[in-house]
Symmetry: C2
């Protein structure tokens, strides 16, 4: 394989690899599997074909080997039990012409059978990169941070939001009542739980019909409409119909469970949509929790940026989830970082959040371009929902002014009550 | 929570769980997270709501605990470093009314945030079950095994097939030439590689136009058309257009990379399609290789059966992949097993296959309702492609007659050459 065919346009994928064969060999196996190779040399694999289609090993950086494989492989055990498992990072360069602007083909190329290769005892997609003119052929976010601020009228601070709880089971009128209370409290953003799509007792249509008049009433009062991310996840036809219904009713956002709608579905809705898409990543844990397998968030968010989601969940700092805080912060940074000319996606912090996390997030990110969602942290505030929302805003005011929360709380009763109540929980 | 609300219709999900809290408690946390619960008691979670929407812990079977967590959790480390990690299997029953016939909502419910719960240090979806009238609301396979046999005219034995190789890089005329050779050799089934969708140098349209006349010519000769699973993966509009083009051209199958098209996309194509859908599962390794995380194939194939794929890949026995042979056999069995009145999906064996695996597969499955795909095992046969195909059929004849391969090979030269050649490789 030639290493000199730099004239062809290429995109790259960077992986952590652990393998029973030396790393450079593993990289060649992966490059072959994910382009023109097979397990036998074939007469059809000519130089022309390689030049056109063959993936190229762009970089191999070894790490110290390990004595035990991270993932078992019956292939290794059958062929020749290994005593050492080589580790490192590799980068593979693929011809743009192999996939074009086809998201399923891109995924099959960078995240396909390679996870199953017998020689591989660990493989994680760490990052991807595309030439800007390649990335421009995918839809990308239509609204992003700027468009979301425009739709909500919230400038210069994070969007303070919440999830309607209980997650599922409320009747449409009950949901509308909670939304009414949240709007009265001055909330910026409300979302459905990811479990709530179109249950028999609270259909999408009934929910939208119950909630929209409430949102309009508060919009008339406030001069801006709180953004309600209603979960449209379902079949393609249902999602398009639901989007159109939200648009016609004057709503300003739709939500999709991106992993389970899938790339083709999300891209299709994105190309049709005239509203920001709130991307919920539930199921993500299965793709990322074992560190030597699956996907890093840095790669994952780029793929959904290409598909065109405008907001993407990143968990919360000190959340109820497994993830270390540093990893959550890294995720948010990656959402905000430049990527091949594709606009950023707005990171959404959620789970176990209340005012206390504001200074941590601001210090780590030096940005207010995010959504900060609190469930119990708002609805469970001892002085009520309005104080819950106020305490979140006050937390961010303190953070932006560089004042510690305890000090700021002296002159801000909602924050003070939150600190007293939630610290003790 | 009531355990007596059996009158409501429920579907179930069975999990392996490992947790820092005792198993019964972990089961309640999961049931709460995936239905009406949150981290604070909420006034809205009334008895009516619970009866309507709350998931129910149906079963808890403990296994011996372990001293080290399978997956790290910053939550556990922050809250109270655990000394024991409880393990077992649990079954959760969810109200059918929570999700209806909505595939993304079903997935968000059974495979959503629960993977990320802080208390959870291992979680794997082992199986699902649905009442038959619930399952009937999903599309399911339109063709399945019977419809595939009808389209191919192959009865009473497996479909012998191959993948056009090199995987990617051939020009349309070169693909047509290989297809011509394969058809002349009497092949039953040919598929695109999963990497090959619509490359710049061999577009879908050009490939279809080059291949279809070849298939028709051989169909006229043979009285049956070899099934060509052409990869239509792409955007929703492209997939529908490509399906229609295959149908209009007289083709008999379309292929999709199911994980990366996604549930909404596959279901949409299924509801539109008039041809069998060949489901390629590339990327599956990321979802299953760590045994205490992700999905078992038993659950996975049911989900794609609901979505309506007709064929699904299961790797091969003695393949180039990581998977133990027993696991491959279990996968195929699950594809063929009854499931809530949804018809079976045809298992597709692939990777490192040649005639030698036929007796193993037949002995294990006692069925010929499968596809047996060989790449190098057919194209790399020392006497040519026709002998490669013949050797595969002869392997299955021997298996069905209960004659060992060596004996059968005495009177069957193609099989004899395969045994001599591939055993030595």
């Amino acid at each position: 394989m030639s290493n000199n065919n730099r004239s062809r346009a290429e995109f790259t994928a960077r992986y952590f690899v652990e393998s029973s064969v030396p790393l450079a060999r593993a990289a060649e196996v992966i490059a072959g599997e994910q382009s023109s190779g097979t397990f036998l040399a074939l007469p059809g694999e000519t130089d022309d074909l390689k030049e056109r289609a063959r993936a190229r090993v762009a970089r191999v950086d070894s790490l110290p080997p390990v004595l035990e494989p991270s993932l078992k492989s019956a292939f290794v055990e059958r062929k020749e039990p290994a005593r050492l498992f080589y580790r490192g990072e590799i980068e593979i360069a693929f011809p743009v012409d192999n996939v074009g602007a086809n998201l399923p083909a891109l995924l099959s190329t960078i995240a396909g059978n390679l996870f199953e290769l017998g020689e591989v005892t660990g493989l994680r997609l760490l990052d991807i990169d595309l030439p800007a003119d390649h990335a421009a052929r995918f839809p990308g976010p239509a609204f992003g941070i700027e468009g979301t601020r425009e739709k909500t009228g919230v400038l210069g601070r994070p969007l303070i939001g919440t999830i309607v709880k209980p997650s599922i089971g409320l009747l449409p009128g009950q949901t509308a009542q909670i939304v009414d209370d949240l709007c009265a409290a001055g909330i910026d953003f409300i979302k459905d739980d990811e479990l709530l799509a179109d249950p028999a007792y609270a259909s999408f249509d009934a929910r939208l019909e119950a909630v929209m008049p409430v949102l309009h009433r508060h919009a008339d009062r406030m001069g801006r409409m709180p953004m309600y991310a209603i979960n449209i996840s379902g079949t393609i036809d249902e999602m398009l119909r639901r989007h159109d219904k939200v648009l016609a009713a004057g709503g300003t956002c739709v939500m999709m469970c991106v992993n389970w709608v899938g790339f083709a579905g999300v891209e299709h809705v994105r190309r049709h949509a005239q509203l920001p898409i709130h991307g919920h990543r539930n199921g993500w844990g299965a793709l990322t929790r074992f560190p030597q397998l699956g996907f890093s968030f840095a790669a994952y968010q780029k793929l959904w940026r290409l598909a065109g989601v405008d907001h993407l969940h990143v968990n919360g700092v000190r959340s109820k989830f497994w993830e270390p805080d540093a990893s959550v912060i890294d995720s948010a940074r990656s959402c905000l970082a430049p990527f091949a000319g594709v606009q950023p996606v707005m990171p959404v912090f959620s789970s176990g959040q209340w005012a206390s996390q504001a200074p941590d997030l601001f210090k780590a990110l030096r940005s207010v371009d995010l959504m900060h969602l609190a469930g119990g942290g708002i609805i469970g505030h001892p002085q009520g929902i309005a104080a819950g929302v106020a305490s979140m805003r006050e937390g961010w005011e303190a953070a932006a002014e560089g004042v510690d929360l305890e000090t700021y709380a002296r002159s801000h009763p909602a924050l003070r009550a939150a600190l007293a109540h939630f610290k003790a929980v």
